[in-house]
Subunit: 217 residues, 2 copies
DNA sequence: TTACATACCAAGCGCTTGCTTGGTATGGTT
DNA sequence: AACCATACCAAGCAAGCGCTTGGTATGTAA
């Protein structure tokens, strides 16, 4: 789903993951009409909000008539849902890879923090913001579907945090730590600007890990 | 503005602060038509979102005709803005009082964390959630107005955090710590349920402070 | 008694919204 | 050559939206 990514400068293994997800039909090919629409939709939904984005806005963004949208998606809400579902699928795969590549439990957690910050502030940032701020625009049925995927994603985090708890490296409650991390990391999208200002994503990751007060390995 | 609070079980000094703000005309009297409307609006905006809440919904919630709303507010957006402005005013006053009542710098920070958690998860919770999630529904002009008030509120936090930094108790960057705290604390509204489940607000506050890894006083 | 302000109602206007309909151009398959 | 699925356009419908208008009941003050 490069549809939700800006092209180029994507880590190589992320590109590989993306290709395999496209092959399995789990995310849309960014070159397809559907993929391009999802990318534009993510941007518009983040900038203006779902409700204030009209189907005419969406159609204009990809250069078609508003009625033609409904050849690709049954309803406007289906577009929002697709943005969310494909984003979670991609990020779950990326996070799992990042975690598996790390050695110690401590490094696994850091890899997750780093990867989530990249998702939020990098190329999938628009779609991630939609996931956070447009949640209530989904019908309850769609919320339930997305929640199922989200549970898988969250299970990754809990695996890492529970392991650290058993190591004795983490004193606080893993569930609460994850909740706090989720809020803190999501919120970075409202203030963190890597381009201007000295703090790099790596530096930000270090600050977050330091703030958790893990005992030394 | 008890309009944005459920009545009763409000700390005494908070009641005093509220009364003085009403006297200064900085927040609406909850007994007034305007005050009751703002309370209902906060609830509806949080539950359904601003865009999906119609002026007919708002009018029905206080038992009048939709057109009659515009006798009290010029536009629908003015209602949203009033909810936000009055909430920030009340919370700034409450936070300042909590901070002044605390002794050490460490206790001042804890008082702020505790007070913000109370604002988010207590009686002003609906309005605080609106402040977080409906921000983009404000026009740019209104955003600027609210931002001015928000700066005052944030300055309180920075005073406390900078003092701890100078004490040497805080190692991380105060600005970043505040950003992370803002996200983590706001996010509690999506998962923290004090009524069912053992964790009290006091316990949650302790977990947050512990997570900051302050050196002992 | 008159005068005026406040708080509301009943009705509805004009516009925008998501979505539908009937049709056409294109390209691949048999 | 005949067929059909895909991807679109042009036009517009029905519903819902924020807000306006003209009027009425109530209370207060001169």
């Amino acid at each position: 789903m490069r549809s939700l990514l800006k092209p180029l400068d994507m880590p190589v293994n992320q590109e590989k993951i993306l290709q395999s997800l496209i092959a399995d039909d789990l995310v849309s090919d960014p070159e397809s009409a559907r993929g391009r629409l999802l990318r534009e939709a993510a941007g518009l939904f983040r900038d203006k909000g779902y409700e204030r984005t009209t189907v005419r806005d969406l159609a204009a963004a990809v250069g078609i008539q508003s009625g033609s949208l409904f050849h690709h998606f049954r309803t406007k809400e289906d577009i929002l849902k697709a943005v969310m579902v494909e984003t979670i699928r991609l990020n779950t795969a990326v996070m799992r890879a990042a975690m598996n590549a790390a050695g110690s439990n401590r490094e696994k957690l850091k890899a997750l923090v780093r990867a989530e910050l990249e998702s939020i502030n990098g190329q999938t940032g628009e779609a991630m913001a939609v996931l956070v701020f447009e949640w209530r625009s989904l019908s309850e049925a769609s919320q339930a579907d997305v929640l199922t995927l989200r549970d898988i994603y969250e299970a990754l985090w809990m695996t890492a945090l529970n392991a650290l708890k058993e190591d004795g490296a983490l004193t606080a409650d893993p569930f609460i730590v994850r909740r706090m991390l989720a809020g803190a990391l999501s919120w970075t999208v409202t203030w963190y600007r890597p381009e201007r200002g000295g703090l790099t994503l790596e530096g930000l990751t270090d600050q977050v890990i330091a703030m958790l007060g893990l005992t030394q390995p």
